[in-house]
């Protein structure tokens, strides 16, 4: 513990003026060693005043005036009296940076911080190896660990990973980024030693399918697996499939991002019997086929599906529609998913709560699909439409049928105008949060909004040229308790203003791509039936490579654009 109690008696410390303390009350505290707050400070002062002469008060006043600001040896600090668990509780409210500084205050703080620290993020360069034993002696209750290595440095290898896993037996969540030197031996040991590991997230690692398999073969408690940009995946004849291994019955969430060989993961997805959440972002492969292969058991459990920039069409959506308990669906930039696919989802997934669609302005999804959702999915709570052009027909249906619709976001739509806002205002009674971005809405729409949506709590309006500060003011003054977040664009500003809006950037920067799709699909405009779907699939197999290439190029291009804009734009 920190300071030891002062054993000097009260009256003598009162007289000892050179021994001062910014807070004179502390000096006079009389403490016994076992009880924490025995006697109030003021108490002892009064006692001692009473026992001394009538100049007692003067003496105290003089002592205060006589302040000597050197720290005092035998004047204990009160915070040392706080039990360790209370000190640890205080530390909980501090970020890692502050905790670092606390660890340097004194030995006791070092110890309490180390023992109460549950989350740690380390710079995983190879040099850290020698420090691993002492680091994990100090931090002995880590349950969430992140090891991150930057691109330019050599990362830790298997030896370090084994050491760490032996010392963090209670690890529940583990994240590795850029640790390219880690191979299958390390991953196997990690799973063997950390028996409670529930979540693994790895990004930019190189241990390929072998590494994942070595890990999964022993990870009997794993519930969540997230893999991004994994290297070392072989393909073609040498392709090694990834299976769920020991986690077959526990794995609930699979998230795959930017994998150039998505096919390897098919058997993983299909083998996870308790799968609840499936998220696929920009992975190559024919995902229609994978989705169609989902087993009957899995179908019953699947609640959440995210599909972004994938090769997936209405066939895949039809397959997903068998998941009768589906609650959350995100379809982002999947131009081969059309109204027909959305309708098939609507017809069977009656429990749908959250729906996000980024139509990429390709107009493959619009009124027809949304009307189907409105009619069949009464539980809808959250709807996000980006680059989709619904008219008041579907908007009207959605707002009147979906009685639980609380959160609505409409972005980059050419058809959402004042009439549509007015429709929302009058019919959408449950609405609490509304976000409108880049739509042809004007101040009139704001007025309409002010008069409707009785439960509205928050409104965000961005990049809507027609909305001026007048409209904002009207809204604010008429709806006092409403939180209004508006940015007003001056008439002269170009469309792509604002570096913070990644969305608009991406769409702006990649306008080339959607029109390519438009051309292709215009030529292939056939009603979706089983015969044509296969021919469509053939075509898409060809363009799959193209998509992959384009996707990555445009992703890089838009990212660079975003970074450079954020550098130049102070916003």
């Amino acid at each position: 513990m920190g300071q030891s109690a002062s054993t000097s008696s009260i009256p003598s410390s009162l007289n000892r003026r050179d021994n001062s303390n910014p807070n004179p009350s502390r000096r006079m505290k009389n403490r016994s060693t076992d009880e924490i707050s025995v006697v109030p400070i003021e108490d002892s002062r009064i006692c001692s005043y009473q026992s001394s002469d009538e100049d007692g008060e003067d003496a105290a006043a003089a002592a205060v005036a006589d302040l000597d600001l050197d720290a005092v040896d035998d004047c204990p600090d009160l915070i040392s009296d706080l039990p360790d668990e209370c000190l640890a509780h205080v530390f909980q409210f501090l970020g890692a940076g502050d905790r670092k500084r606390c660890s340097l205050v004194c030995r006791r703080w070092l110890q309490v911080d180390g023992q109460s620290r549950h989350r740690l993020s380390l710079d995983a360069r190879s040099d850290i190896l020698i420090s691993i034993p002492s680091i994990f002696d100090r931090f002995d209750s880590i349950s969430k660990l992140a090891l991150k290595c930057d691109r330019r440095s050599v990362s830790i290898g298997d030896e370090a990973l084994v050491l760490i896993s032996l010392r963090c037996k209670n690890l529940a969540r583990f994240k590795i980024r850029g640790c390219r030197e880690i191979a299958e031996v390390g991953m196997a040991e990690l799973a063997r030693n950390c028996r409670n590991l529930k979540k693994l997230s790895c990004g930019s690692c190189s241990f390929g399918a072998r590494g994942i398999n070595a890990f999964l073969d022993h990870a009997a408690a794993l519930e969540e697996l997230s893999v991004k940009r994994l290297r070392g995946l072989t393909d073609g004849a040498a392709m090694e499939p990834i299976g769920p291994g020991a986690a077959a019955s526990t794995l609930k969430t699979i998230c795959l991002k930017e994998l150039y060989n998505g096919q390897c993961f098919e058997s993983l997805i299909l083998g996870a019997k308790s799968l609840k959440t499936l998220k696929l972002f920009r992975c190559s492969g024919d995902w229609d086929r994978v989705l169609e292969s989902i087993s009957v058991d899995q179908v019953a459990g699947l609640r959440e599906v995210h599909l972004e920039r994938l090769q997936v069409s209405d066939c895949g959506l039809a397959a997903i529609s068998s998941c009768l308990d589906l609650e959350i669906l995100h379809l982002v930039k999947t131009p081969e998913c059309t109204n027909a696919g959305l309708t098939s989802i609507a017809e069977r997934c009656k429990l749908l709560r959250k729906l996000h669609i980024d139509g990429w302005k390709t107009n493959r999804i619009g009124d027809e699909g949304l009307a189907a959702i409105a009619r069949r999915c009464p539980n809808l709570q959250e709807l996000v439409l980006i680059g989709v052009n619904p008219t008041s027909h579907s908007i009207g249906l959605l707002t009147s049928n979906c009685r639980n619709l609380e959160r609505l976001a409409l972005c980059n739509s050419e058809t959402i105008g004042d009439a549509e806002i007015s429709c929302i205002a009058t019919k959408c009674l449950a609405l609490r949060k509304l976000c409108i971005k880049g739509c042809p809405v004007s101040d009139q729409g704001m007025e309409a909004l002010a008069g409707g949506c009785p439960n509205l709590v928050k409104v965000k309006v961005k990049k809507c040229r027609g909305v001026t500060s007048e409209g904002a003011e009207w809204l604010r003054s008429n709806r006092g308790s409403l939180a209004v977040n508006l940015d007003i664009i001056a008439a002269m500003e170009p469309q792509e203003a604002g570096a913070s809006d990644g969305e608009a950037q991406e769409i702006g920067g990649e306008q080339q791509y959607p029109s390519l799709i438009k051309q292709r699909t215009a030529a292939a405009d056939v009603p979706s039936s089983s015969s044509s779907s296969s021919s469509r699939r053939c075509r898409s197999a060809f363009s799959k490579a193209k998509i992959g290439l384009l996707a990555r190029r445009n992703f890089v291009a838009s990212t660079i654009k975003r970074w450079s804009q954020s550098n130049s734009n102070p916003q």
């Binding site: 720290a71 600090d77 915070i79 509780h89 606390c102 070092l110 993020s121 680091i135």
Partner: protein, 216 residues
């Protein structure tokens, strides 16, 4: 904000309400008053003065807490329930007699009761929306926790002992706010802590710390 007159009564061991009432803590004037007023309307007038256990015929039951100095505080049961320890005792039917809280001073206990009362009352309030209630509690809490550091520490220990989560979080957040953004030397100064590291030890810790990212 130290309440000097209050402590005089505590030292003397009496439970006179006058000394308590003259306590100078700003917002706590009402709550700092002893036994008779804390239980407010529900208990009958005689209950306050009696020393026997109070299981009155009033609608809500009254719990009696006894501070370190022996001062009795009557608290309505829905207020006392804010403390998990006490609420467990109530469930186990062990709360019928005076409950001693031997390591908590009367002045601290009364502040604790003040907090519990406010929060319990707001919870029961059906006339305002949740947002309004939260807003009210937040601003009330902010004022409540504007205390000298000594009182803060005593409250932390007591809230921890009585297992009152909301209060403990509030207090610890306040102490944490005193620490945020400060370097080790400044922190030592605020809390008057002695640096017991050798320079070598300090260097070793700094080196080790450099391996950890600031955003965990």
């Amino acid at each position: 904000m130290a309440s000097t007159s209050k402590s005089a009564s505590a030292a003397a061991g009496s439970s006179s309400s006058s000394a308590a009432a003259s306590s100078s803590s700003s917002s706590a004037a009402a709550a700092a008053s002893s036994s008779s007023t804390v239980a407010s309307s529900s208990s009958s007038a005689t209950a306050a003065a009696s020393s026997s256990a109070v299981a009155s015929s009033s609608s809500s039951k009254v719990i009696v807490l006894m501070s370190m100095e022996g001062e009795r505080f009557e608290v309505e049961d829905y207020v006392a329930r804010e403390s998990k320890i006490i609420s467990n005792m109530m469930e186990d039917d062990c709360a019928n007699n005076d409950i001693p809280v031997p390591n908590v001073m009367a002045s601290i206990l009364s502040k604790i009761i003040e907090w519990c009362k406010k929060h319990a009352e707001i919870k029961e309030d059906n006339n305002h929306s949740n947002e309004e209630k939260e807003k009210e509690l937040r601003s009330w809490d902010k004022e409540f926790v504007d205390l000298d550091t000594d009182t803060l520490y005593y409250l932390v220990v007591a809230a921890n002992y009585l297992d009152i989560n909301g209060l403990l979080d509030l207090l610890c957040q306040k102490v944490a706010d005193m620490i945020k953004g400060k370097n080790p030397e400044q922190i030592r100064e605020i809390f008057n802590i002695k640096n017991d590291f050798t320079p070598e030890e300090e260097e070793a810790i700094r080196k080790e710390n450099s391996w950890a990212f600031e955003s965990a």
